[in-house]
Structure formats: structure tokens, C-alpha cells
């Protein structure tokens, strides 16, 4: 039988005034397995701890029970004391006889009786404790940032600045993301490219940063501190090491009618292209869907004009495998499809555009060279209607249930810029609410109304009908006037909802990071751990976690970087030893446990078992990665066979406590 020592603390009079500590020590001393039972004024004091340490050595104790204050207070103190006396720190149990006994009861007899019972329960538990050793794992000192928008760029720069190597994987041929497409930024109205492109260049020049552009994540394995990621480098048919970005090929390419995705299809590019002038890396790529050479082997013009011989029509997708200690998801957002809302006639008229398209129409590097012109006829629009909340704040069957957050502000920005540049243009904004929490935000939209004379109409647009004369009949409601309006507009701008990148869901699966029903990544704690995923080692940066504007995104990106740096600066990760573990002999492989695990700590494999009758049987069994498990125990209850148990809080330990308390 195990030898248990019991140590009852007086906590001065905190405990001793209401609990007869001598009686507790004496009664518990009579328990079958208890070989020493002592009381002392302050167990947590140095001399109290020495008493414990000496007893451990003198009696050869296998476990100790401290009847004292809450374990939340001094569990660690006593664990350390035990460890220094050679007893495994997890062979210590605390009976909370202060917060949960002496402080809440007045009757001494009652409190003493309860203290004894709590002590017995702790003894019952410690008899079933097992020595636990926290596992250690190394940390690969390299981070991966998935997504090269402003979120990914900022996170990567901050990590690199701290001296850790970091890789950016971007699916497009250039980093920059949505911010590169914007014209001006609210509320300061500074030029988006002017503040973004230096950061892009910093990325390219920082020796700690490696950019995998035109690349995708193929697979992820491993766990915090030690992920292995396979990256697919899509064939761009241009040798990155040779291309100088001179752009000669893009001028000579005969295929001229390829919709330019950077300008959202508002103009065309060639089949070989550089997305935009400040692209990083500034390397051409050939669009295999349009290139004549790749489609039918006829042309080869670009190859002929390239002075460095960078064109390689035989290039194929390649794969890179790299190990990382931390992974940052910064997959950003896309514009939700607005063509499903037939009433806005987005598909019927070129003059109904999304706000992002408007950004390009107003951008000096855009298709119109910065002059706002109607896409249909290239004329100057005189009446512009903005429609807010298109596809946001809907029931899930009708659109996105959330507020896209940025639309109110960028619409005010657009309206203001238009009124400033083209004072002869009337601008109407149909709004449901104007949401402007943020520094200088409300002031900003008030300026749009008060200084720039933008007409804000509380109401919605019910129907947009293109008229034969090229104008658009916008039928809407003015709820304050209780009127139905008809505005004859030249251009309508839809504040389309933003949605997480379509690639995020499959990525989340690879990362075992959880997502909400809208496909935004979920954070480890909505308030206290907003930049971490519940899966250890996975961090969240930018809109992939929820709608955000640029300052918020950058703030979160830096916060995320700080978390990553904190992780990478450790040499070893010490795990919590109170983790779940699965008994392979009992596991059914049913996946119930993995379904409830918030950390993706559970994986399955087919394992061969040698049966007692010498046959082998292959079964699917669960394995808990102790480096990832946080020890909540959800899996232990989900498991029907009882194969899953939690170290430190095992079924038998908890039931022993139950038994002791009910006695």
C-alpha cells in the first residue's frame, strides 16, 4: 500500500479559527494508508515546506495531501516542494479547507467534519495518482505566414524583425492582397499603395523573409513547435531566378483579351503578365488558360523576346517541404457574390459596380487612369447611388449574417472623394445604420455629410432598373420621410459583403484549426486570446478571423507576431502533463473524441494488433498528441468505450473522490 502524508495548515487563524486542525490531522492520520499526519501554522512558509520535505524523505512518502487554501493559490508551491524532496510533483493533492470550508462556515464542528471529509477525498484521489512528467518538445525557429496581404506582410515583418526566419505563402503571383487594389484609405485619405508598397519591398529585401508567391499549402502535419508543411509552387512558366521583371514579354504577347483580375475584370491584360507595376516579386507569369503556346504549341513569342531566357514552357508544379514552429493564417477575404441579388441588376448593367471595383475606377493605376468614368460608356457620372449592407446582416439563407464592418467607412470615403473631385456629382447613400466606432471615424462620416454634402438616406434600395437612356432607375425607400424614391443614377455602387477566402476552409482542415459557420477562423478565446487559434501553434492575423479595417488588421497582425515571437523564442515547450490519452486496446476508432477536441490533438491510424490467439487484427485507433492536448477532458466523456482518460483527473480518481465525499 502507498504511504501517504497529510499536512494540515492552520493558515494562522484563517483555518484554525473555524476548523479544529488538530482533530483533522488526527482523524486523517487514522486512514489506512496515512503514515504521517501533521498540522502546522503556515504550510506554505519555508519551515512549513521543510516539514513536508523532511516527511517525504523520512517516511518515504508516495503521495501527500495538503489541507490548506485553494489549489489555485498554492498547488504549485507544494508541487515544487515535493519535487525538491524527490517526490513527483503530481503526487500532491490539495484539500481546499479554507476558501471552501473555514471561510464559509461558522460552526466549528460542522467545518471540522467537512474538512475531514475533504481530506479523505483528497487521500482517496492521491492513492490513485500516477507520477506525471511534463513532456518536452523542441521548437523549430521558423514561422510560416499563409497569405501575403497586409495582415501577412505585417506579421512576417514583425517576426523577421525579431530575428526569426519567416516564409510567406501567397497564392497569387504577387503579395499585396486587397490593400494593393485600394485607392485611398480612411479616415486619413492617404494613398493605399504609398503606404503598402514600401512594406512589400521590405518583405522582399528582408533576409529573414522568404516569399513563396503563386504557391499554395498542400499539406500540414505535426504540432506546435514542429509543423511540417508541404508547399505547392504552381508553375508560372517563368524562371524566377532569371526573370528581371522588365516587362518586355507582357508587351509583345499577342493574347490581349485576358480579363485583368487585378482590375477586377474592368480591363484586359496579356496572357503573360505582371499583376501590377509594384508587384513583389516583380516576376512575370504565364496564364496557362490563355497562352497559345501552352494551349496548342503555337506562338513562343515571349520566349523569343526574353533577353534572359527566363521563359520555360515545360515548367511544372514543384513542391517544397519545410518545417515550422508556428503557422499564421492570414488568408484574408473576398467580395461576396452580389449577382444573386437580382434586384440590384449587377449582371444587367456595367454601371452597377461593387465598392472594390469603384476603388479601381478611382485609382490612378486603374483602368481609367484615376478618372471616374462609367464602365458602360466611359462618360462622367453625375448621379451616383451607394447601397449599403448588400449581402451583409442577412439571415443565413439570404447572405451573410454578420456586419462586414468596413463598408460604412469606405462608402463615406468614396462619397467624400467623389464630391471633392467632381463637385457637380450628386451622391446618395442608402443606409440602414451608419456604424462608425473607431478613432476619428464618426467625425469622418459627419464630414462627408456636413462638408461634402453627401445625401444620406435612411432606407434601402428595392430595385434597380436600367433605362434605355443608359441611366439607372434606383427605387428605394426613405424611411424618415416615409416615401418611396426614384433616383435616376449614372452609377450605382454596392457595398458588397466581405467573406472569408474560399480556400480558408480547406486550410483550416489541414491546420485542424476550428472555424465558425461563416468560415471565419475561431480564436482560442474571444476576449483573452484573440490572435491564437484553439490549436496550439496556429495563429490568426487579419480578416480571416473576422471583418476588420486596415488599422485593426495591422494591430492584430503585430499582436499575432508578438505571440509567434514568444513561441519561437523558447527552446523547449513544456507540456501540461494532465493530458488525455487513449488506451489502444479499448479504442473503437469511432472519431467521437476527435469531433469534440477543440485543439485537433487527436489523430487516428490503422494499427495492427497481435491478438492472444496469434492472429493479427488491424484496427483504427486514436492517438492524443500530448504536445497539443490542453487537458479539458471533453474526449473522455465522448468516448463510449472509456478508452480515453485524462491524466491527473482520471475516471477512477474522480469516482474515488465522489465515493469519499458521499460516504
Amino acid at each position: 500500500m502507498r504511504k501517504i502524508g497529510v499536512f494540515v495548515c492552520h493558515c494562522g487563524t484563517n483555518i484554525a479559527a473555524t476548523v479544529d486542525v488538530k482533530a483533522v490531522a488526527e482523524t486523517l492520520g487514522r486512514e489506512p494508508s496515512v503514515v504521517v499526519s501533521e498540522d502546522y501554522p503556515y504550510m506554505c512558509s519555508e519551515s512549513g515546506q521543510n516539514l513536508i520535505k523532511d516527511s517525504i524523505r523520512d517516511y518515504g512518502l508516495d503521495g501527500i495531501v495538503i489541507c490548506s487554501c485553494s489549489p489555485r493559490m498554492h498547488e504549485n508551491t507544494f508541487r515544487k516542494a515535493a519535487a525538491s524532496a524527490g517526490l513527483n510533483p503530481y503526487m500532491v493533492e490539495i484539500a481546499n479547507i479554507r476558501e471552501q470550508c473555514s471561510w464559509i462556515h461558522k460552526d466549528k464542528a460542522e467545518a471540522t467534519e467537512k474538512a475531514i471529509l475533504l481530506g479523505k477525498a483528497a487521500i482517496a484521489k492521491v492513492l490513485l495518482n500516477t507520477p506525471l512528467i511534463a513532456g518536452e518538445s523542441g521548437v523549430v525557429k521558423r514561422a510560416l505566414v499563409i497569405g501575403g496581404g497586409i495582415a501577412g506582410i505585417q506579421t512576417a515583418l514583425d517576426i523577421a524583425e525579431a530575428g526569426f526566419p519567416v516564409d510567406i505563402v501567397e497564392q497569387k503571383p504577387t503579395i499585396g492582397g486587397k490593400m494593393a487594389q485600394l485607392d485611398k484609405t480612411f479616415p486619413t485619405l492617404d494613398c493605399s499603395a504609398c503606404i503598402l508598397t514600401p512594406k512589400m519591398v521590405d518583405c522582399a529585401q528582408n533576409e529573414n523573409i522568404k516569399i513563396y508567391s503563386y504557391s499554395e499549402i498542400e499539406s500540414v502535419s505535426g504540432f506546435v513547435g514542429n509543423f511540417t508543411v508541404k508547399i505547392r509552387r504552381k508553375a508560372r512558366y517563368v524562371d524566377e531566378t532569371k526573370c528581371t521583371g522588365c516587362g518586355l514579354c507582357t508587351e509583345k504577347c499577342p493574347v490581349k483579351k485576358v480579363p485583368n483580375e487585378f482590375n477586377l475584370g474592368l480591363d484586359n491584360r496579356r496572357a503573360v503578365y505582371i499583376p501590377f507595376a509594384q508587384a513583389v516579386p516583380k516576376i512575370a507569369a504565364i496564364d496557362a488558360d490563355y497562352c497559345n503556346m501552352l494551349k496548342n504549341g503555337k506562338c513562343g513569342l515571349c520566349s523569343k523576346v526574353c533577353t534572359v531566357g527566363a521563359i520555360d514552357y515545360k515548367q511544372e508544379d514543384t513542391f517544397v517541404e519545410e518545417r515550422y514552429g508556428a503557422i499564421v493564417a492570414a488568408t484574408g477575404y473576398e467580395i461576396a457574390d452580389v449577382s444573386r441579388y437580382g434586384e440590384y441588376a449587377y449582371n444587367q448593367s456595367k454601371d452597377v459596380v461593387t465598392s472594390l471595383e469603384l476603388e479601381r475606377l478611382m485609382n490612378a493605376a486603374g483602368p481609367t487612369g484615376g478618372t471616374l468614368l462609367r464602365p458602360s460608356d466611359g462618360k462622367h457620372p453625375h448621379t451616383i447611388v451607394f447601397v449599403q449592407c448588400v449581402g451583409s446582416r442577412c439571415t443565413p439563407d439570404k447572405g451573410k449574417p454578420y456586419c462586414s464592418k468596413i463598408c460604412c467607412m469606405y462608402t463615406a470615403k468614396h462619397a467624400m472623394l467623389i464630391r471633392e473631385k467632381y463637385p457637380d456629382t450628386e451622391v446618395y447613400v442608402f443606409y440602414i445604420d451608419v456604424r462608425t466606432p473607431g478613432k476619428n471615424f464618426d467625425e469622418f462620416w459627419r464630414r462627408a455629410v456636413e462638408e461634402f454634402g453627401v445625401h444620406y438616406i435612411k432606407g434601402a434600395v428595392g430595385k434597380i432598373s436600367p433605362r434605355p437612356d443608359g441611366t439607372l432607375d434606383v427605387q428605394g425607400s426613405d424611411l424618415l420621410m416615409d416615401e418611396q424614391l426614384h433616383i435616376s443614377a449614372d452609377l450605382v455602387v454596392l457595398a458588397a459583403a466581405i467573406e472569408p477566402s474560399k480556400t480558408a476552409r480547406s486550410l483550416a482542415t489541414m491546420l485542424t484549426a476550428s472555424m465558425d459557420t461563416n468560415d471565419f477562423f475561431t480564436e482560442a478565446h474571444p476576449k483573452l486570446r484573440p490572435v491564437e487559434s484553439p490549436t496550439a501553434g496556429i495563429f490568426l492575423s487579419g480578416v480571416c478571423q473576422g471583418p476588420k479595417d486596415i488599422p485593426e488588421t495591422v494591430a492584430q497582425a503585430s499582436a499575432c507576431a508578438a505571440k509567434v515571437i514568444g513561441l519561437l523564442s523558447k527552446d523547449k515547450l513544456k507540456g501540461n502533463p494532465c493530458v488525455a490519452h487513449s488506451d489502444e486496446m479499448m479504442c473503437n476508432g469511432c472519431s467521437n473524441c476527435a469531433n469534440v477536441c477543440p485543439y485537433g490533438a487527436i489523430t487516428y491510424s490503422d494499427k495492427e494488433f497481435r491478438m492472444p490467439d496469434r492472429t493479427t487484427k488491424t484496427r483504427r485507433v486514436a492517438w492524443v498528441n500530448p504536445a497539443v492536448c490542453q487537458g479539458c477532458g471533453a474526449c473522455t466523456v465522448a468516448c463510449p468505450s472509456g478508452a480515453m482518460d485524462l491524466l491527473g483527473f482520471s475516471n477512477s480518481q474522480i469516482m474515488a473522490e465522489v465515493d469519499a465525499l458521499c460516504r
Binding site: 434586384e343 434601402a460 428595392g462 425607400s477 416615409d482 418611396q484
Partner: protein, 126 residues
């Protein structure tokens, strides 16, 4: 919840509390100009429990039941069903005061959409 509101909610199956006051129903409504109370006000008044005002208003007969508002409401409130429910209550309270097919020719009005008349006839004839 008062009794009338309760009835409207029950009959329409509409969840008026979901309304976020965007006004899209009224922005969409083809009968808007003919109505004293507009679709968004129907929803609002029912939510407030002021169904009597609606019952007394001609507006309940102006709705064409075209369902444009139902189709476009981003919150799934289904205003036309609310209007329909209020109309049905009015019709039921009128008891024997039913429209007969013989009365139709006299009522026919070039400005009145045929669909509205057909709907009214169906409701009244029941």
C-alpha cells in the same frame, strides 16, 4: 403579447422581431404609393402590437401579394405574409360581408390590377 399581435404572428408565421428596419420591403413595393401604411410599417406596427391601426386602414387591400418584399427581405421577415394575416383577420371579422362574383362587374376598375381582384375574391368567397 397582445391577442391580435399573437394572431397575426401565428397566422403569418412571420418573425417580426427579426426586422432590422432597413426598409427594403418598402423600397421594393409596387403598391407603395397607394398605401397609407407601408410594408415596413406593417411589420413595425405588428411588432409594437398596434394591429388595430392596420385593420382600420385601406392599406391591407392595397397589397398585391406579389411577394417581392418576401423575396428581398434580407432578414426573412416576410412582410407580405404579415399583411396577408392582417387582411385575413379583417376579412374574418367582417363575417357575412362577402364579395359575391355578381358584384364584380360593378367594382371593376381599370386601375385595379386583376390579380388583386382575384385574390380578394378568393379570400372573400371562402
Amino acid at each position: 403579447m397582445n391577442d391580435l399581435k399573437d394572431r397575426v404572428v401565428r397566422m403569418s408565421g412571420s418573425r417580426v422581431e427579426r426586422c432590422m428596419r432597413c426598409g427594403k420591403c418598402s423600397a421594393t413595393c409596387p403598391s407603395y404609393e397607394d398605401m397609407e401604411y407601408h410594408p415596413h410599417e406593417f411589420v413595425y406596427l405588428v411588432e409594437r402590437g398596434d394591429v388595430e391601426k392596420l385593420l382600420a386602414s385601406e392599406s391591407i387591400y392595397k397589397c398585391l401579394t406579389c411577394f417581392a418584399c418576401v423575396e428581398r427581405c434580407p432578414r426573412g421577415v416576410e412582410p407580405a405574409k404579415v399583411v396577408e394575416a392582417v387582411r385575413l383577420i379583417a376579412v374574418r371579422e367582417q363575417g357575412k360581408n362577402r364579395l359575391k362574383p355578381d358584384d364584380l362587374p360593378a367594382l371593376t376598375d381599370a386601375d385595379l390590377p386583376g390579380q388583386a381582384l382575384a385574390t380578394a375574391l378568393r379570400k372573400y368567397a371562402k
